[in-house]
């Protein structure tokens, strides 16, 4: 910065602004605190979900665990057929009665 720039800076300082009214400061603080604070956990959860859906490697452990759980549930439902023979005549009678 040249001496000319320094002179300009000194000259600019002649523009003084008024201080803040203490009552206004108190009003502003009260006004600011009247707003509810954001809850960061909801935002963090949304961020993690969004990232989890867009980046396949993010939260891989959870994804694998969820996949395994689905697989086990699927096998559980699929591998427990009823041993009793279907009573076709009985079902037909029930259907007739319903009509």
């Amino acid at each position: 910065m040249t001496s000319e720039d320094d002179r300009l800076k000194t000259r600019l300082r002649q523009w003084q602004v008024p201080g803040m009214d203490p009552a206004a400061a108190d009003r502003m603080l009260r006004g600011a605190m009247a707003h509810p604070q954001t809850r960061p956990w909801a935002e963090a959860l949304m961020n993690q979900l969004t990232r989890g859906l867009s980046d396949w490697r993010y939260g891989l452990g959870y994804k694998l665990a969820a996949g395994m759980a689905c697989l086990l549930l699927g096998f559980g439902l699929g591998s427990a057929p009823s041993d009793a023979p279907v009573n076709v005549a009985g079902v037909a009678l029930m259907a007739d009665a319903a009509i």
């Binding site: 300009l8 600019l12 602004v17 803040m20 400061a25 502003m28 603080l29 600011a32 809850r39 935002e43």
Partner: protein, 173 residues
Amino acid sequence: MPRVARGDALAFRLLAGRHMAKGHAIAFRITHNREDAEEAVQDALSKVWRNAARFDAGRAAFSTWFYSILVRCALDRMRRRPPDAEDIETFSDHLADPDQSSDAGWIRSFEARRIAAAVAVLPEQQKTAVVLCYYEDFTQPEAARIMSLNLKQLEGLLFRARKALKASLSDDE
């Protein structure tokens, strides 16, 4: 800040109290209007209070975070109502020298009004750079972080602002 994030009003008052006067001066110099300056400070404080939990001390100092929010709020206010001649006349009341009855006092007041008018017509980025670096004594790296610019860009803004101010303040000397 962690206490503010937990809703501690006293901690917020203490923290805000350290920066409000400087924040008000910055907002006043950007908006050229007392009402808009107060609104800008209030907007910035509201954002700080609401989003305290999002503040990451590892990324920036609180002051940098607060003043960058404040500058954006002040610029938003200014865009809604750009300073005009009436504003400058109105806020010249606030520049009044207590000793304005004397010639020296009148000259000081007149000079302050000319400087304020010259700063008012600068493009908003240049004006912000001038306010932060020349009036509020932020270092250039600090001002660059507040304005989300790199140092070269800030230096360019200050260079152009100095050129424009020299031209407008020397015109009618």
